[in-house]
């Protein structure tokens, strides 16, 4: 289990969110990523591309992702992410991650890219994200 952040800034344009902590490796600082069961892949900020290239495998070819911000061309990577627990156990999960040099949004955890391979539950009253193996 890990507490999640529901808003990373104040403002009328801010929608409620579920931002959870993940890491690309055991020595990496946790990064916040937005859970999105409608997103096919995980999507990472372009600045994280160098890190991904170190530990993730590139799937050859270009990929196109349609989002509410438009169409983005980029690359798909395959590798392990760590979902970080504050209580209980952290979890290593294989993920498919899309990275585009033009992506302006935050990091996302997508359904097919990751979430469909774990059990998870959200407790909105306490902002708790529960997760575990299938």
């Amino acid at each position: 289990m890990a507490p999640y952040l529901d808003a990373d800034r104040e403002g009328a344009d801010r929608e409620p969110r579920i931002l959870v902590r993940i890491a690309l490796g055991p020595l990496e600082s946790p990064v916040l990523a937005l859970m999105d069961t409608a997103a096919p892949w995980c999507v990472f900020r372009p600045e994280m591309n160098t890190r991904l290239q170190k530990s993730f495998l590139l799937i050859p070819g270009q990929a196109i992702l349609g989002t509410r911000l438009g169409l983005f061309q980029g690359s798909l990577y395959r590798g392990h992410l760590r979902l970080l627990a504050e209580e209980g156990e952290s979890l290593n999960v294989e993920a498919t991650v899309f990275v585009s040099p033009d992506w302006p949004g935050p990091n996302f955890l997508g359904y097919q890219g990751l979430l469909q391979r774990i059990r998870f539950a959200v407790d909105p009253e306490n902002n708790h994200f529960y997760f575990g193996e299938i």
């Binding site: 952040l5 900020r45 600045e47 590139l58 799937i59 070819g61 992702l65 349609g66 979890l91 097919q112």
Partner: protein, 137 residues
């Protein structure tokens, strides 16, 4: 020589559709662009059977292998970062378009450069589990 060994040495059957490695890779790309992995691995397998030494087909086949089950990491936990969450709620709007690096509710660095913020956290010799990196969009 047994029949199994003989079969192993046989060259692959010619492709009746005269497909090329590039056409297999294009098909894989089309499947991926439909937002699914289903079928992409099968196409990679078909391509690799005909072109077993093609590097991109080999990489695609490996990268599209079946997913492993998620695995628990025993004993690995991060610290309570509720102070950093509070900091973000209160101060995040001042840092839109930037990466911020936080530890226990304290801002360590803010920059458009991800690497600069990572370096700033490292210079503080902080345990990564006590830190938090976030891009505020």
């Amino acid at each position: 020589m047994g029949s199994a060994a003989a079969r192993k040495l046989d060259p692959p059957e010619p492709d009746p559709e005269e497909r090329t490695p590039e056409s297999f890779l294009e098909e894989i790309e089309e499947i991926l662009n439909s937002g699914t992995l289903k079928g992409a691995r099968e196409v990679a397998e078909q391509g690799l059977a005909l072109f077993p030494d093609h590097p991109d087909l080999k990489q695609a086949h490996h990268a599209l292998r079946p997913f492993e089950r998620a695995r628990v990491v025993p004993g690995y936990r991060v610290s309570d970062q509720s102070d950093s969450f509070d900091w973000l709620r209160k101060n995040g709007s001042k840092h839109r378009g930037q990466w911020v690096g936080l530890a226990h509710g304290q801002l360590i660095a803010a920059s458009e450069s991800f690497e600069q913020v990572v370096q700033a956290l490292r210079l503080q010799i902080l345990d990564p589990r006590d830190t938090l990196l976030h891009f505020i969009d």
